[in-house]
């Protein structure tokens, strides 16, 4: 391949107090350049106050085939949600 540029995933914090959120990807030579290009490409309208870039190949992702064994077993624990517990009349802030 003539083009050596690596693929990077870009995450942007749009406001202090919020999480970084995935916004897309870009090509760059190294992490430093990826950061600058993320600024030039993804914050043209001042969308960010902080940027993370991660080489796409460094991300380990769960597969669709993992779904049943990963997530289905977590779906049967209603006792983890506050909504399961009824409160008597007149009790709030709990």
């Amino acid at each position: 391949m003539s083009d050596h540029l690596q693929l990077y995933e870009v995450f942007i914090r749009s406001r202090r107090g919020l999480d970084h959120k995935h916004v897309g990807s870009l090509h760059a030579d190294d992490p430093e350049q990826a950061l600058e290009y993320a600024r030039d490409v993804y914050t043209r309208r001042g969308e960010g106050v902080s940027i993370w870039v991660v080489a796409s190949r460094d991300i380990t992702a769960s597969q669709e085939s993992d779904c049943e064994s990963f997530y289905d077993p977590l779906d049967d624990k209603p006792y983890r949600h506050a909504a399961m517990y009824e409160l008597p009349e007149g009790v709030d802030s709990l």
Binding site: G24, D30, R44, Q63
Partner: protein, 318 residues
């Protein structure tokens, strides 16, 4: 893990997910044809944004005021950005940007044929922003609900950014129509040249569109070509009249029963001619892109060489 326990992904399961308006995400199983169809559509869309830099870029150095120059620069830059978002979305389907660009250069992959028309006067910058970007937006708004997650998310970002594009174009036309006789003529001439190509942007009639039926079933496309085109005409006619421009179509007439404008038949021969290479700028558009890519080859090679040297040095130190 016992493979038998994991239910096999199937085409039915995939379609059921789409029917339930759930998004398909990059790691999901998908029919090969769905993947290819998406790669074709998204890369074509990306190429259109990037080739679309040219007719407008053609006026960056000649914009009539400094404010217009800044606006145009920002606008053309957005097109490049949108191309980039879309290449990114396509890359999640297992194709590289280099492969897509190679297909563009070899003529295997298409881009929107409208960009094969020349931008000859300043008014064309108005007409492109107003007519071409509005047509693109009508299409793109419907694609915000497309079934492939990365494509849908790119569309949301693009639509948000593009709203200023059509307004700045319309504003150029409006100012021209408030200007001298010569300026008004310039605006009308430009509309005359861009109107029909803009209508062609929605593609062939529904019955004749090669990819439509399957794309609708897979929710890659959400609304039909003719449906989108009608919505566009209804909007654009009203906008043209509001600033005193005449639509160059003798058959254009409000149809009370349908609640829509009736309009004349598109010259499909011209549509075919321009798509197949006989537009005024087909060769120049591709040549321009190839030249930039080739002129940049030594830069990309240097980046690679520098990076390997730096890695080698880092290893030495370690």
């Amino acid at each position: 893990m016992n493979d038998n326990i994991v239910a096999l992904p199937s085409e039915e399961k995939f379609q059921a997910r789409i029917d339930a308006e759930e998004k398909i995400e990059p790691k999901d199983w998908m029919p090969e044809k769905y993947r290819q169809n998406l790669i074709r559509q998204i890369s074509q869309h990306a190429h259109s944004e990037v080739i679309g830099e040219q007719p407008e870029g053609n006026w960056i150095t000649r914009a009539p005021t400094l404010e217009r120059k800044a606006i145009l620069l920002a606008k053309v830059q957005d097109e490049a950005g949108h191309g980039l978002y879309l290449y990114s979305a396509a890359e999640t389907l297992g194709i590289t940007r280099e492969e897509m660009i190679d297909r563009l250069h070899k003529g295997i992959s298409k881009y929107a044929s409208i960009f094969n028309y020349p931008s000859l006067t300043w008014a064309d910058i108005g007409a492109i922003g107003w007519l071409v970007d509005s047509a693109a937006i009508v299409n793109q708004v419907s694609l915000q609900n497309t079934s492939y997650g990365p494509y849908a998310r790119a569309m949301v970002r693009i639509c948000k950014e593009e709203s200023f594009h059509q307004r700045q174009g319309y504003n150029i036309m409006m100012v021209l129509m408030q200007g001298s006789e010569e300026q008004r003529a310039m605006a009308q001439d430009s509309l005359n040249r861009w109107w029909w190509p803009a209508l062609m942007m929605f593609g062939p009639h529904d019955g004749e569109s090669a990819h439509s039926a399957q794309s609708m079933k897979w929710k890659i496309k959400r609304r039909s070509n003719d449906d989108l085109r009608q919505q566009y005409v209804d909007q654009a006619v009203q906008q043209a009249h509001a600033i005193g421009l005449e639509i160059p179509d003798p058959d254009l007439k409000w149809n009370e029963d349908r609640g829509h404008y009736d309009f004349g038949e598109i010259d499909w021969d011209e549509f075919e001619r321009v798509i197949s290479g006989d537009g005024l700028c087909n060769r120049q558009r591709i040549a321009h892109h190839i030249k930039a890519h080739e002129d940049g080859a030594w830069v990309r090679e240097a980046m690679a060489a520098y990076d390997s040297k730096r890695r080698a040095r880092a290893t030495d130190v370690a």
